[in-house]
Structure formats: C-alpha cells, structure tokens
Symmetry: D2
Subunit: 371 residues, 4 copies
C-alpha cells in the first residue's frame, strides 16, 4: 500500500497503541450522478468506514438533485478539484464505460483508491493497464460486481467451492427484462458482465472459461444487439450459458448450477426462496466399476431427493460492496472483486463480441489465472 | 385419396343420400406399448371416429398390461397380422425412432393411413421417401406433434398468424426437466422436435428457418448430449432459440414470442395462465419519418401496457391429435401436422447435429416450403 | 369379519398351504356414474386386489358412456341386482349424499363391504347407525376421504404425529375455486369435509375439535352458502380455520399447520413443492424459567431458519383409497378412514350448520374419540 | 382553514396575481424515530411541497442515527419545542398508538396540521374528539392509511366504484407473515387496520360495514392474539373477511373482491401482476325473468372468461401519502383518508375486540357515514 496516498489506513501510525479507536473513515468522492450514482451515494453514506465528501458530475444541477435539499455533501463539476482534495482518499466511478479508462487512470495517478462500475473498461488492453497501474501504486482497484455481494451469491460460492454440489456439470443463466436500450453498449456488454462476474466469483479456480460462442440479434433495428446468447466452455469441459435480453416483457433472473451431487437454483426474483439446493440428479446405475464405453451403455437412473432452502439474510448488495471497498483499503489488500476479476470479464466480453461478429464461431480465450 | 385403401371416407358411396348417418369409424391399430403407446390407446378409445382394433407390441405381455383386464381390444405381436387385417384402416406408430421408416413404409404400402410419433425418422432422406410414398398413395401421413393440438398453441398460432403481435422479433423457448436419458437419441432429438414443430406450426409461412447453430454438452458422460442450446435464424432475420436439458431439477416449459406490437408468453406449467399477451414493447421515439441511421440515434422509449390472459379450454392435446387424424382421413386431406411438417423438423435436427459436431458453426438449411 | 359375506379373504380356506397364490380379488360394484364415479371405475380397474363387476346407475346410458365402448364391465340400473350378485363382495357408493343412508344400509345388510363418498350421510344420527351396523356385521365401512391418501397428507401426518413440528399451534386451510354450485348441499358440506377429514387424519389423537363457529354467505342468491368460514377450536386450545368458496376465480388449496418447532405449508397446486417444512417460528426469549405472567413480558425474538421440501412420490390418491379398501377387507380390519372418521366429520358439519344459523355463535361439539 | 396556523396555503395572500410561483413548502416535523419514522423522514424529504424541519424523539440519539451523518435536518427531544416553532406548519406522528391522542391533540391545539399513523387512537371516543377538534380548527387531520395510496388500491377503487365489477359479492383478505409480536397491541389492531382502511377506501359509499365477528388465538402464550379472523357484514348483505397472522412462515398479502360481473384479485407480493381482473363468475341460467324461489332452482352455469392485468406504475405509497397531505393542506380540504376514515376503522376494531371477547358473537357497529 502506497504510504503517500493519504488513505485512511495510512493515517494510523504504525505501532499505534490505541486499538480501540476505529480508524478515521476514508474520504470518498462519487463521480457520476446518472443511473447508478445515486445508489453509490446512498450506500456510501450508510458505511461508517467511508466519509462521502463529493458528488461530482459535469451536470452539477443533476448532482444536486440526486443529493436532495437536506445534505451536507458537496457538489462539483470538476473531477480535477476532486483529485486535488487531500480529504479524498478514494473515488467511486459511475460514468459511461467509455470514460472509465481516463477517469480511473487519473484517479490512480493521483493516489486515490478506485471503485469502478462494470465493465472495467471497453477494452482489455486498457483494463490491463489499469490493473498494472493500481498494483504498481499499491492502490485498491475494485470492480463493482454488485451481485457478488448479495447474500445469495455469497452462499452459492460457499456451496460450490465448498464441494457441496460436487463437480459443476452445467450452468444456465437467464437475465431478461424489458430494459433500457443503452446508447453506448449492446445487451451483452450491458447485462452479461453480471453473469460473467458471478461465474468468476463462484466457480472453483480450476474451472476457468476457455472459449466462448455468442449470437446476438437486433430485431428492433436499434443498431446493436438487444437479445443475445452466450455459451462458455469451462476448462473442465462443462458448458455454461447465458441468455440476456432487453425485450422480454417478463422479468427473469435465474441461474442454475448443476453439480454431480446437487443442483443449485438461484431465482433472484423470489424473495422467499432465492436459493434452493436440489438433492436430485442423474446416476449411472452400476457405473462404479465400469469403463467409459460400458458406462455409456449402463442404465441411467434418477434420484429424486429433498430440496433445501437455506435461510439468507436480506441485505443490500451495494452496502456489502462499500464495506468490502473500505475493508480492502484499510487492510491494504486486493478487493474480492478486484481489477483482475474485472479484466477477466472484459476479456470474455471481447471474445463474445468477436464470436458474434463471426456468426457464432467458437473463440478461444485466455483470461489469465482465476484469482 | 386412394379409393382402394378401404378407409372410412371411401366406405361412404358417392351420392349417398343419408347425410345424418355418421361415417363408420376407421379401424385403428396402435403399434408400440412403451412410454407413449398407452396414451394413444386411451385417446383412440375416446375418439368416436376411430375404432381401436389392436395393440401391437413384440412384447405381448406388456401390451396386455397396458390394456388392463377389462378390455375388448385385441393384442398381437405380429405387425404383419395387423397389416393384413382389412378392419384396420389406420396405424399409429409409437415405437423407437430407428424403427419408424420400416414400419411406416410397410403400413403405407399396405394401404393404411399412418400417425407416427416424432421424429418422423432419424434421417431426412428416409423421411422424404415416406412423404412421397404417402402422397403417391393418397394416404394420410400425420406426425404426432402433440403440442400443436393444445389449446395454448392453437391460440398462439391464431395470435401470431392473425397479426395480433405484429412482426415476430424473437422467439425463446426453454424446455428443461429432470428427464430420462434416452438410450437411442440425444436431448436435441428427444426434446427439440417439440420446439421446432411448434415453431413450424405458429410462425407465418414467410418466416422460415434458414440456418441453425447448436451446442451440446454431456456432463454426465452418458455418451450423448444431455444439455443443448439451439439458435435458429429465420428468413425474416429474427432469431429463435431453444434450450433443452435433461438434467435440470426444476421443470420449465416456457416460450416467449416477441412481436413488434405485443409479446406472447406461454408458460405451459401454469394452468391458470398458460398464455398471456403483453401489450408492452420497445418503441423508437420519433422514428416514424427517420432513415435507418437516424433511427439508430433516436431515443428509444418504452410502452408498458396491459396484459391479457385469454381464457383457454382445458383439453387433452392427444384427443385433438386423434380427432385431426380421423378428420384428415375422412376428408382425404393432409393433416395439419403432416409428413411434410415432420420432414421440415427432421431437416432442422440434422442441421443442428452437424452444427454441434462443428463446434456450433452456423449451418444453412433448406427445409423446403413451409406448408 | 362375517364369514358369510363371501369376500375375498374368506375365500381362502383356513390352513391353506399355498402362500404364494394371491387371494382372489374382491368383486366390486361401483354405484353412481356421475361426477366422481368414473374416477372410482378407473382406479378400481387398476387395483389388482379388486375385480370390477358392475357399474350401477339408474341412468344406464350414462353408465355405459362412462365405461366406453371397449369394456367387459357390466352395466345395470338395478341396485338390487348388484346386491344379489354373489360375485360382488363390496360396493363403492358415489351417489348424492341424501341417498347414502339407504344405499349403504342395504349393502351392509346384504353382507357387502362399503366404500362411500363424503359426507357419509347428511345426518350424524344416520351415520352412527351405519357405523354400528357395519361393526355388528364385521364389515368394512370406509369413507372416501380421498386427500388422506395423497403422498402429501400422508407425509404431513407423519410429520405432525411424529413430533417433528412440536405442538400444533394453529391450522389455516383455504380451499377456494370457481366451483359448481351444488344442487343439494352448501359449500360447507361440499368442500369442508376435505379439510375436516384431513384434520382428523393428521392431528394427534389428543388434539380433538371441541367447538366450532361458522359464517356463510350466499351473495349470488343461490339458496345456499357459496362462501363460508369455519373456525374450529381444538382441545389443546389451538384454533383451526377453513375458508371454503365456490366463487373465487383463483384456485387455492393451501393448508398451513403451525407448530411450536416448525411450520408445515401444504400447497396442493404446486407440484414441485407441495409440502415444505419451515424451520422458522417465534421464540419467547429467556422464557425457559419464567412463569406465565413473566413470559408475557419477555422479549419475543424470531428464528428464521432453513426450509426443507421433502421429496414426495407422484401417486393418484384414489389408487391409495382402493388399495386401502381392499387391504382392510383382506385383513378384516377397519380402514384408515373408517366410518367413525366419517361420523366425526359429519358431527362437525352439523355443528357448523347450527353455528352459521345462529350468526356464528360458538357451538360445542362432542365428536367422540379420535380414532 | 385556520388563518393563524401559518401553514403554506395561508402564506399565499388572497388575490395574489402570481400564479406561476409555487407556494412555499409547509414546514414539517416528524415525531417518532422508531420503525416507521425513517420512512416518513425519507419521503418527506422527497416531497417538494413539504420542508422537513425536525425529527423529534425522546431518544435523540436514535433520531440522529435515523437522519445519518450528512443531514441538515435538526433533531430534538422536545415535542414542545416543535410545537412552538413557527416554521412548523404540520406534524407527522409515528409514535406508539397509546400516545396518539395526547400528541395529536396538542399539535392541533397548536394550530398544526397532523398526519398520524394507524390506528388513529386506541379508542373511538378519543378519535372522535380529535376529528371534532380538527374540524373546528380548520386543520387537516390525516390518517396514514398507506395502502390506499398504492397504485394497486387506487386502481381497485376506480374499478369497484366505477362499476366495472358489478355489485360487490364478497371480499376476502389475507395478510399473514412472520411478524414482530407487538408489545402493545394484538394482531387485529396491528394488521387489520390495513384491511379495514382499504375496504373503507374502495367500497362504494352504500356498502357500509354493519356488524363484525372476530376470533383470536394466542398459541404462543404471548398475552395477546397472534392469529385472528374477522368477518365483516356489509349493509348490502355481502360478507367480507380478513385473516391476520403474525406466525405464518409464508408471507401472503392477497385480497379478492368478488363482483357480480368481474372479480378482482390483488396480490401485493407479485410485482408483475399485482391486480388482475377476472371476467369469470357464476350465472344463474335463464334467471332473468324468474322470481326468487324459481331462481334458486334454476341451473347455475359458469362463465370462464379472459383475465386482464392492468398496467400499474411502480410508485412508493408513502410518497403519495405525503403528496396528499401537502395537497390537502394547500387546498384547505380534508385528506382522502381523513380523521373520519380513521375513526370508522377504530370503531370496527373496537367491535371486533368486543366480539372476540364474547367468543365470536356478532357485534353490530355503527361506523357513521362512509365519506
């Protein structure tokens, strides 16, 4: 961690004998008062380890409207002013993706920790530069992969990585709704980062995406795909798939993770039963001592077992994002969803774009190490 | 219609002056007492225009068990005996797909009308021969595309073809469940015929499938795909997609047909609301007088409208299949889901198999004329 | 068991040395070819321990239509002929309730075992006479409390009586639908027998109904209640409640059984999750060593725990009814839902009718011993 | 309207010629920083026609925590200080019910408009005094019957009062959940005010509650009913019913309003389909020209028709409450859910309490005029 950045952790002198006093909160500026910014503002204010100093937007009027008429938080249209404020130790960037590279680089060069919306950048080359810059500077670069901080996804990660479901056999994710056609990105870049970042978060490190195939469709002639299907082959041979769609009148957000022992169903729109663990599956009868060819002839039988619905706390994901950002800063450690995770997601999105342009051809991808 | 086949319609002499007397029912033999045969037996018995004469299965014991202990229907293990019985005017074939070609050909050559389970045959070349043979012989060759005879799919056809939803923009179909891993076919050939035959049935004639791309996965090492994704490009440019899966612990049977004016959601597992018509969609604001490039810049806005759930009768689909089979025989006309429809489905399945073998490459397909 | 009745068990001579031969099936006549009769006919035919001999209805045409054109079962309009047939050892009565007493009495007097639709009779005095007659004659008198033979209710009985949920604290049952307004009975007598017989079946013997209060309403001026609410006080102090309704456009069949440790939710219309066991409840914190008054002041806290959905077989309830009827006959023992259970239900219905007539006044009821 | 109260409307001089300038917002103090207070604080801040001046709570620390660390709103523990502040024109009371009478009376006597949580007071005598006091003083006394300001209930009111569903035949409401056992009120007083205020709001003025019957149960020995059933007879003869329950592990909030032409189903937990209008019902066939007795014999038939799901905006109800409070103040008119509505609800709750104490006896109630 760079001792010159003035972030909160550094403010506590080494060897300090006052363990009871909490560290001073890290001063934060939120940049971007559009769709997502207000959520960052609200959750930052509710996080004791952060101190919201600024809301920055070129449109100061919009920023003022987001804050409302009862606030002590300051508004500015100048990103430079934010970076020059020594009270600011960290910046949360919620601007259009095309602006991420310049803003994040400037913030890192100014010694600020950075939380950035997905996707990290529209290009993996730029994303890699930001990752390297942050690591060189000893600064936290965190991607706001929000879903990874929901109680549901945390639980799923625990179940998958803990071996509860056995080997992952398939993953199927559907994220469809009547959505806003984005002016700058297609539906893959808009919605699939959720699915890809969740996959990155919950799969074991040895199940890495190695190739993708994507098909997109623009039936309303919007100039970019509004419906897309993405197949992702994992290094284990399993197939993951995501369906993202801006045009569906019914809203579905469901992910099924099939394992050799159990299957997880995550229905994010069912508050009373978001995650269920199904003790059902397919067995190859008498398959224990059989060779491969023999197994294929063996009779397949079915276990139908109990379903367990684990109790989950109700908790806003973004609160967890803010807490993790502050904790990573305080501990001088990478965030759970760090820049490298963001870079892996961008590499997959780029490969998907290449595949879609080539009519769905399988595109090999080297995302680097998982974690 | 071949006057020598002895089917019911031909039994009424031309010019007959007895309009009140219903025609004698067509004598029927069901061949195959396995998974689906019992349903054919039950529904044939409930169809006044048919007279069930035989249940034929190599395993006569199984056939007797299917009929139960209170029946007057005869059992035989000899398909030849069935074909030689002049009381039999029609045959319903519910045996494994690999046997369809020989059985159907023999039946047609014996002058019997044929109802056959999906897929028509495992090869389009054989399927085409059967279609030609039936047409030459003036016999009804009908495919049991069961879903097309549900009140839901009939309603959807009416809505789509009647112009209610505007132009079809996308189709997404999910048919997943914990299923029996078939010994002879993969999940595409087992389940996708449902989706493909429904598409064939409901889409307007000018929206023909022109290419497919498929990915399959066999995560349980069963020797054939158990999870598959199938993309289908239509001649209109729209994209249809089907997800079929034998390994899902949750059962889903949902098809969404997005149109330029309305969107249909068919949830076959929701008896109180199988079909809903959503008056929602995406508009390009001010797009009326704009050129193509301009439209892409135009602001996209959203209509959120009412949803209508049309009342549908509860009616077993197979009852409708039997009624249509008998009616086609009586009228000497092709069945709604005739051999040509079955051939189109087989051509798509073959193309999907080629695509999956080629890693998902786009395969052009010429299915011939729709209808 | 009356050795003169000619039923199946008696047909095996005592001391017979042929244990491998199954007993000859009991000859059965179904009486009544109306709404429910066809279901009895179908399930009797599928029960090896029964041999369906007759379908008896005053309207022989209707009976013939129920059997269809492929049957070996005989039709008769004469109940006397049925009773005089020595091949008939048992009778299943599915006629209007008002005819039950005469038909069941005649059958018992003729030495036939009897299965009878709910309610046993419209009057508890008559019901008691039938119970006494059957017991005197050593004949099985069984009530077709169909739901008790569903896998769901069997499981619930096991959970409740096995102590899994702790003490029963409340029961709430909703059984509403767009229903046929019955010509002869109100909605309480039509639908509440289901709820009351299920309660009778699943509650432990020491939790007996001791009083009821009922309100009915006839908003369509049909001449009898079409909407009714029934409160039932148990001997343990707990309150059970049933809402029955013929006028609801949405169909609901849900019963919640709240226990001191767990709560059971039975949603009969959710095939993938009919029964769920909720490890949630209300605790009185620190209440262990407190007296009654102190407990009321103690802080109440909440456990939110996991939910378990036990796997249940799919099995038609009426198949289980038939099997139980045959087994009780064979073993010469009372059926699980015997005449006494039917009598208890009728006593509760009578009390409910009195209460509704008295504006909902609490009516004490002595149903006799549970079991 | 009392010209001395200094509220916003009075601040605009009569005959003012500046119609474009919006009136100055009314200064508001929220009293009570417990469970509901934070929601009032948040929504008041988002309402342009209000100006939040104070959050008042005896526990100033709690009040400060509610406001958070970035606010300009002041905290006080002194209700007197609030009443003495001339900048305060209105007070929103969210304290325990037992304190409502004293707080509301003092506020009205100080010339402040009042918004008060349900129930208005625990006694109808006190409630009537507050109503009279407010009317004498020309001040707005509004009850926070929150649900009445949801888009769903507004739509239902429009449908019911507009004649869309015909005559109201029955109402059934279920409001159950795992809830906090309240220290001061039973489940009827805690939850049934929602159902009663909604009934009051949506039913036509000529369908007035005239009698109630209630049963409560305290199975966890909490010292007050945790499960309760409430029957309400309307002046039209129709029966309404509410089930309220703190002990249910499944959360249900559903109200069915059956009409002679259509039936409304409101499922508040189904965001994609909160309100559906069912064109189904029960007809008396050939009943047109028949007398009463004849109608009872007439054949009853069933219409199964379409279901319409009207599009509803997503909008926080409390935002609507605040807007209505401000609008009533500005216009010098009673609020939609005024003190009289609150008084009617309290009269019904008192009658329900009397009935439950008398074992469910029917209690006649005179709630005064609806509206």
């Amino acid at each position: 961690m760079n001792p010159t950045t003035g972030h909160a952790a550094a403010a506590v002198p080494p060897g300090s004998a006052r363990p009871a006093a909490p560290p001073a909160p890290t001063g934060l500026a939120v940049v971007g008062a559009g769709y997502w910014g207000p959520n960052l503002v609200r959750n930052a204010q509710a996080t004791p380890a952060l101190r919201l100093e600024w809301l920055c937007d070129l449109d100061e009027e919009r920023a003022r409207a987001v804050l409302g008429g009862y606030t002590t938080v300051r508004v500015t249209g100048s990103f430079e002013a934010v970076l020059n404020d020594p009270a600011v130790g960290a910046v949360a960037v919620a601007t259009p993706a095309a602006t991420h590279f310049d803003l994040v680089r400037a913030a890192l060069e100014a010694g600020k920790h950075v939380l950035v919306e997905k996707p990290l950048t529209p290009s993996s080359g730029e994303a890699a530069k930001l990752v390297a810059l942050a690591e060189r500077s000893g600064l936290v670069l965190m991607c706001d992969h929000t879903y990874c901080y929901t109680p549901a996804v945390r639980k799923i990660r625990e179940l998958v990585r803990g071996g509860e479901i056995g080997e992952v056999q398939f993953v199927d994710s559907v994220r469809i709704n009547l959505g806003l056609v984005q002016p700058d990105v297609d539906v893959l870049w808009d919605l699939a980062p959720h699915d890809l970042s969740i996959l990155d978060f919950v799969l074991p490190p040895d199940a890495r995406p190695v190739a993708v195939s994507a098909h997109g469709s623009d039936p309303i002639d919007a100039g970019r795909s509004c419906v897309a299907y993405l197949s992702i082959w994992l290094s284990t041979g399993a197939l993951a798939h995501a369906h993202v769609n801006w045009l569906s009148p019914t809203k579905i957000r469901t992910t099924v993770i099939g394992g050799s022992r159990r299957t997880i169903v995550w229905d994010d729109l069912n508050p009373s039963q978001r995650v269920s663990v199904h003790d059902r599956g397919v067995d190859l009868a008498y398959a224990g001592s059989l060779g491969r060819e023999e197994r294929r002839e063996a009779l397949i039988s079915y276990r139908v077992g109990d379903v367990l619905v684990p109790a989950l706390p109700e908790q806003e994901a973004l609160r967890g994002v803010m807490a993790e950002f502050a904790a990573a800063i305080a501990a001088g450690r990478p965030a759970l969803t760090d820049g490298r995770a963001g870079l892996r997601v961008v590499r997959l999105l780029e490969a998907a774009t290449r595949s879609a342009a080539a009519g769905g051809a399988r595109e090999t991808v080297d995302i680097g190490e998982n974690e």
